[in-house]
């Protein structure tokens, strides 16, 4: 593994483009900027082509003989299947509005991280093979041949895109680099070219139900640890159910919440909230993943992984589904799930059993976001909250890219935070809501071998946090995404040491006054509550 440069070194970014044109500047695959190649066993599990041992650092990537033909046929097939792809190949005018919108460009200065140029990497091959002008005029028309070096460049740069869609917000035609990256990654997968940090979790999810490969008894075990902690803190013993038929609600959250801090605190938050409400719900070990790493390989695999949620809801006979805090999970659930695996006609219109609110906006998918659910509870005064318990926190909120630009959930989490915390501060308006900056580790880039890439990509987000840390003394970065909870702590430690990361429902649980609880002296992290220092 390469050594990650120190922050003062990494923050000296040179934005001057090279002297040579981009087509004449081959990609140099720099260590620390890529993830390991996918292992053969994971590709075999997923029934993906060309499983073999390989490394991106190798000269020879062990491709099948006819790899060019495979890619070009795949390209043609996708142009015929997706209008978005076809239109986005043709209508870019290279106005440059997107050029400085990508966190990877801001953090690296590499011109091929400008969304427009990232797309041109693929467009140039499209022009060279599928347009008359490109075939005749070649380079003059921005066309080029699909060579081994171009292929490596694709792999390198399309795994330097977190599919965050920020560029799409600023594009006058809505050209979405995420769509282009998704197509490019599908093409690369036809040759067995992915990263193991994506194919590993995807294979786990396929066989075991979740990315982390937690087997059913491990899920129960992990939750039991949390239940013990909750009992210690609140004196209340919670008994959740698993795979229970006839429950009213199926709860699905990313497995990251069950595994590592600070995600586990968010999971404890869900457990405490549901217990306090007396909600008739169940966890599932089969559909134990809301996230979808298939989404970072191909539409088909994404659909295969997603199918478990509806299948399990049907098997258990629940009425509707509640989903936890996650980023790309919600992009998938909002924009794809019903199309792939619906209609969910075996479910009922989601209705909060506590407030009676009918979630009209989820009348087809029958799946409600927990922030919508909790905001509704608070609005109806159904929760007893003591925001003073969060008084040691100065909170800012990070909108996750996928929920921001693929769903538009902005007010619900803010409403919740403002009701459970007394100190809330917004970051720079150019870095929140639909203009939010990615954590730099999304879409399967949250590995450890590409730390330099992640720290570069995280720079814009971290820098906006640093600004509110300096201005208001912010010490807590809240979010509604499991990848954020996994990725942002490392990014904060690197760029803004001393800033912690939390899910919104951890804040809720800390403020939640539960029936029959003992006097709380610590928060879920075991830290003393303000005014309680010295006790216990």
């Amino acid at each position: 593994m390469s050594k990650t440069p120190k922050p003062d070194e990494l923050s000296k970014v040179d934005y001057t483009p090279p002297k040579t044109g981009w087509m004449d500047t081959p990609a140099e695959l720099k260590q620390g900027m890529w993830c390991y190649g996918s292992k053969p066993k994971n590709l075999e599990t997923l029934e993906f082509p060309n499983p073999r041992q390989w490394s991106p650092a190798d000269e020879d990537w062990k491709l099948p003989e006819n790899w060019q033909e495979t890619l070009l046929n795949g390209l043609k097939e996708r142009l015929d299947k997706y209008r978005s792809f076809k239109v986005f190949m043709d209508i870019c005018v290279r106005c440059g509005a997107c050029a400085d919108k990508c966190h990877f460009f801001i953090g690296s200065g590499d011109p091929k991280n400008m969304p427009v140029l990232r797309a041109e990497l693929l467009r140039s091959v499209y022009r060279g093979n599928f347009t008359t002008a490109g075939k005749i005029l070649g380079k003059l028309a921005g066309a080029r041949k699909l060579t081994y070096s171009v292929l490596k460049e694709w792999w390198y740069y399309f795994f330097q895109c977190t599919e965050c869609r920020r560029c799409s917000v600023f594009c006058p035609y809505g050209i979405d680099t995420a769509e282009i990256t998704m197509m490019a990654r599908e093409l690369l997968n036809l040759l067995g070219l992915n990263t193991d940090w994506i194919s590993g979790p995807a294979a786990n999810c396929y066989m075991k139900g979740n990315h982390l490969g937690l087997e059913p008894h491990t899920i129960v075990g992990n939750l039991e640890y949390m239940l013990d902690d909750i009992e210690t803190i609140t004196g209340i013993k919670i008994k959740p159910s698993f795979n229970r038929k006839g429950a009213e609600i199926l709860f699905v959250t990313p497995s990251g919440d069950l595994f590592a801090d600070p995600g586990t605190y968010t999971a404890m938050g869900y457990l405490m909230l549901f217990h306090e409400l007396g909600l008739d719900y169940t966890w599932s070990t089969y559909a134990s993943e809301g996230g979808n790493f298939g989404f970072f390989t191909s539409n088909e695999l994404a659909k295969r992984l997603n199918s478990k949620i509806y299948a399990e809801a049907k098997r258990l006979g629940v009425k509707w589904i509640l989903g936890g805090e996650c980023g790309h999970m919600w992009r998938v659930l909002n924009q794809y799930m019903d199309t792939w695996n619906g209609p969910a006609d075996f479910l009922q219109m989601p209705k909060s059993p506590i407030t009676g609110t009918i979630f009209e906006n989820a009348k087809s998918t029958k799946m409600v976001h927990i922030a919508e659910f909790t905001a509704d509870l608070i609005k109806h005064g159904k929760l007893k909250l003591d925001p003073k318990r969060n008084d040691h926190l100065k909170v800012t909120f990070h909108d996750s890219c996928n929920t921001a630009r693929g769903m538009g959930i902005f007010e619900e989490p803010r409403y919740i935070i403002k009701n459970v915390c007394n100190h809330f501060y917004e970051m720079d308006e150019h870095t929140i809501r639909e203009k939010t900056f990615c954590c730099g580790s999304g879409s399967g880039l949250n590995a450890s071998e590409n730390m330099e890439l992640r720290m570069r990509g995280g720079l814009p987000r971290a820098n906006a946090v640093k600004d509110v840390v300096e201005k208001y003394g912010v010490n807590m970065l809240a979010n509604i995404c499991a990848i954020d909870r996994a990725a942002l702590p490392a990014i904060m430690d690197y760029w803004v040491p001393g800033t912690a990361v939390t899910g919104v429902h951890e804040l809720v649980a800390n403020a939640l006054v539960m029936t029959g609880e003992k006097e709380r002296t610590t928060n879920l992290r075991g830290e003393p509550l303000s005014g309680m220092e010295g006790k216990e």
Binding site: S11, T16, P17, G21, D80, K81, Y82, R83, S84, F88, I91, V93, R94, C95, G96, A97, A99, I106, V116, A133, A141, V169, C171, P172, Y173, G174, K208, E215, P216, H217, V220, F242, N243, K245, T285, K303, K308, A311, Q335, D338, T339, P343, N361, S364, T365, M367, E372, K379, R405, G408, I409, E411, E412, Y415, H430, R433, E434, K435, P460, N463
Partner: protein, 330 residues
């Protein structure tokens, strides 16, 4: 290099028309045959291009949501930036097409010492783009007076409005000046902004030079060489009534202007200028964010191989039983 090649290409086009008319006397070719061909190529090209896009389905509902979703009744939805209905989508598209709303929200950033990233709004590209497209559109509409008899009164009114500064004779039309300035700005930013220069292809410079030359030749004709407008009108009316003839005495500048316009028309279907059709077909902008409310259908959806619950339970039955998790088969 790309810019120079594009400039040369446009100069060659000018020379073709100049020599063709002045030296070879090919008035019929440049006055009638080329314009008809160009229009045919334009119409067939644009229609077939749009149909080609239209043939590819939109399998998923993928709008870029730039505002608050429709959710609980007491939360205010951003109906234009995150529309959930057709009328919201129409509103969003109108603002996009007529006012370039996405460009309006464009930002700049700067990396200062610290490191400190600073962001700000920038509207130069928005202003330049808007000035360019609107002035081009008004110039185009003004030209309709050459293709109508009698000239509709709205065209006369537009011309009065366009020339309200009343400078010189014939009166200066503002749209032409704005077009010239805007196209120059768009060219200069391509040359002077390093990132934009780096991404610019010949296909980006060529249409700018072409439009610049069209505007210049038009301005030369109107204000300097004072083209025989009666002759021009006779020719254009002949073209629209499919009864074309070449009147005597129209200066060669007109033929150059006409040839460049023909070149632009014929070039459109094969170029990025098709963004004018493509923007309407862009799924990230022209769809409502209602996919949790209404099921979106993928026409090529097909069954996939899934790992069923039964297979899963077979793999883990004993472990599940030990952990107290209910199973289907004991």
């Amino acid at each position: 290099m790309n810019a120079i090649l594009s400039l040369i290409a446009v100069i060659v086009l000018v020379l073709i028309a100049l020599l063709g008319v002045k030296t070879a006397n090919l008035h019929f070719l440049f006055g009638i045959a080329v314009p008809y061909t160009a229009i045919a190529v334009f119409l067939i090209g644009v229609i077939s291009r749009v149909l080609k896009w239209g043939r590819s389905p939109v399998p998923f509902c993928i709008p870029t949501t730039c505002g608050q979703q429709k959710s609980l009744p007491w939360i205010k939805q951003s109906k234009l930036d995150n529309p959930s209905t057709t009328s919201g989508v129409i509103g969003r598209m109108l603002l996009e097409v007529l006012l370039f709303r996405s460009l309006f929200s464009n930002t700049t950033f700067e990396l200062r010492k610290g490191p400190k990233l600073a962001y700000g709004s920038t509207r130069w590209l928005w202003l330049g783009g808007l000035a360019f497209h609107w002035s081009f559109f008004i110039v185009l509409i003004r030209h309709l007076r050459l293709f109508t008899e009698p000239v509709p009164s709205c065209l006369n009114k537009l011309e009065v409005l366009d020339g309200f500064l009343q400078i010189g004779a014939p009166g200066l039309l503002i749209s032409g000046v704005v077009l010239l300035l805007a196209v120059t700005y768009l060219f200069l930013r391509r040359v002077f902004i390093p990132e934009v220069r780096y991404i610019s292809l010949a296909a980006d410079y060529f249409p700018l030079f072409l439009i610049l030359s069209i505007a210049l030749s038009g301005i030369i004709m109107r204000y300097f060489t004072k083209v025989d407008i009666v002759g021009v009108k006779a020719l254009t009316m002949g073209l629209v009534s499919f009864n074309a003839a070449i009147p005597e005495g129209i200066s060669v500048v007109f033929y150059i202007h006409l040839f460049l316009v023909s070149a632009l028309l014929a070039y459109i279907p094969f170029s990025k200028i098709m963004h004018l059709g493509g923007v309407l077909l862009s799924p990230t902008r022209n769809m409502p964010n209602n996919s949790r409310m209404e099921r979106h259908i993928n026409p090529w959806n097909y069954p996939v191989h899934v790992h069923t619950y039964e297979e899963y339970e077979n793999d883990f039955r004993e472990k599940m039983k030990q952990a107290g998790i209910p199973v289907e088969k004991e």
